[in-house]
Amino acid sequence: MNDLERDLRKVLDEDARRIPTPISAPEGLRRSVRRRQALFGGLVGLSALAIVAGIVAGATTLLPVGSSRPGGGGPTTTGTLNGITITYPQAWSLIDPDEAGLNGSSMMAESPLPRIMLALAPTDPGAMFGCPGQAGGAATFLMTVQEQPLALEGPSSEPWPVELGPMNVGASESGCYPDWDFLRAEWTASGRTFEARVGLSPDASEDEHDALLSAFGSMTFSRSGRGVTAAVLGDGIAGGEPWTLFAQRTEGGLSLSLESETIGTGTSLVSPATSELQPASTVLGQGSNRQLVAFGAIPTDVVRVEATASDGSVVPAEVFDIPDELDPDSNAWALVAPPGRVVVRGYDSSGQVVARGTAGSSQPPPSVDTALEDGRHFGYVRAVDADAGTIEFDLAYWLSGKEADRAYQEATGNTGHVPNDYFVVNDNPMLRTLALAPDLRLRLLDWNHCCETFFDGDLALFGQAVGQQTDVSDGDLIYRGQSQWWITVEDGVVTEIEEQYSP
């Protein structure tokens, strides 16, 4: 290390020590985070490791120290937790997730499910329960049972008893659960839907394995005193991506939310539903596979819902019954349509339109013409053919100010301002092949002098970056493969490509 580097580290360390830093979370944190977490409520797709990690962390405080590792045999005992009764070897520990602090407290009051209801683990002599892989093989299995929103249909609605099936969570790469096997099952019993996840280390004995399966099969369930608070209404696929529609009873009334793997939840707060539909929507999928999912609540006198999509097609919606315990006056609907604005209509049993609403982006529908009129256009360069002198261009819309806020709120279900003051709408999946002018000017951001300075780029390197979807360096200059662009079209050909800065 040279003098400058050493001094630099000293200066930075000195300055860092002077910086006042928070020593506790501010009062508003829970409220702020809760507001954001409402957007991704549900959390059905948790990894088994996530739950098990929490369980074992909690188990450290619960399990007795000094006892030997139990086998699966010996006397059994029966315990009940959260309406689940289970019989298991006496030497094992039945863990109350609430006492172990695994379910949180105040935050769960608003969103009670999913919620871990019990955990079962072997006792262990002072081992590192937080990470069984480093505990010398002492922790050999873990089981958790989590209550989910009530499933009205689908695999989770299967009645108890059910069998555990294999579950692939990629544990081979885990330092804490090396080569553990995981099993999973989901079922509905006594008006409640559950999911069990079991982790078994390679060191688990056959006795333990058998006893664990026996304990799993011994479970019985009683109805919840709180009644139904959340339910899975239905699911589907849009843009190649599965989605699930949830209903939940909250203090404010009925809440509908849509969950998928890659998109946050849109939430529609409705209580009770009225003839003025207020749908939520989101776009799933990538590129030309993108599809809009719109959903919302309707009064119970609406028996059929359909929408007119941006391309003029009429799309029927699926109507879902919402359990009366959640909301006796509302049902729900969901539909999948091409990206863009949809006009939604609800019909009563006589065929009269009794409810209306709109959803989706307010941007104009995609043009059927692949050419672009002269002018400046925003979008993404998806491919470059330097030899042919063409690019594939994905037209999008760069919005700012109130327009951006509105589009952001429509697309995400969030309220408030869009982060970073801009929002990109790219509902049109069409790729346009555009000819490049021989004297094309390629203006790329100089990221070393960000963000007002440009340099004239080389088309071949630009094409390489775009093709590889990564950064390509040319000395100090950086060609970004994943960026956003403004193109200038004159007389039908692209005369300039300019990079758009985005934080």
């Binding site: 630099l8 928070p22 829970r30 892989g133 360096s473």
Partner: protein, 174 residues
């Protein structure tokens, strides 16, 4: 398994321990933001907002263990975005350079000059330097935080160091 991993996973699973997560990661986030912006108050705001955003988007993370890196990237983005929006950046930086100079350590003339020179670097170069020499990140990790390649980080740091060498005297001269 790191302790962070356990906490992060528990947050995802149970929506709790947010305060722990906050306390664990916020001091570092505030320090990085402060060293990049040169403004402790602004750094608090940036880090807090970045934390909320990171938690709010947690579900999109394919690797929950990456929370710290994700938060760091959000902080760096917010810092550089802040500077991008400044229309009087040069004046601002001059002001920050003055503010950043400590008044209670008269025997650190070279370091004071270094502070001033550091504050005058372009934001992304300064961020790269902070991530490499304060946060001790590898070029690859710094690149992830900055949204660029490791080579680009190397380039930015090299340019920054070149600038710093030009602007401050060598230690043997002092």
């Amino acid at each position: 398994m790191s302790q962070d991993t356990g906490i992060v996973r528990t947050v995802v699973a149970d929506r709790t321990d947010l305060e722990d997560l906050y306390v664990r990661h916020m001091p570092g986030a505030v320090r990085v933001a402060s060293l990049i912006t040169g403004d402790a108050d602004l750094a608090q705001d940036i880090a807090h907002d970045a934390f909320l955003r990171s938690v709010g988007r947690f579900r999109h993370l394919r690797q929950p263990e990456a929370f710290e890196a994700y938060l760091r990237r959000a902080v760096v983005n917010a810092c550089t975005s802040h500077f991008r929006r400044r229309t009087v950046e040069a004046a601002f930086l001059r002001g920050q350079a003055r503010r950043a100079a400590p008044v209670d350590e008269p025997d650190h003339g070279r370091r004071d000059e270094l502070r001033a020179a550091l504050s005058a670097l372009p934001p992304r170069q300064r961020a790269a330097v902070v991530l490499r020499y304060y946060a001790d990140l590898s070029e690859q990790q710094a690149g992830e935080a900055l949204g660029c390649s490791a080579a680009a980080v190397r380039s930015m740091v090299a340019r920054a160091m070149e600038t710093l060498r030009e602007r401050i005297p060598r230690s043997e001269d002092t």
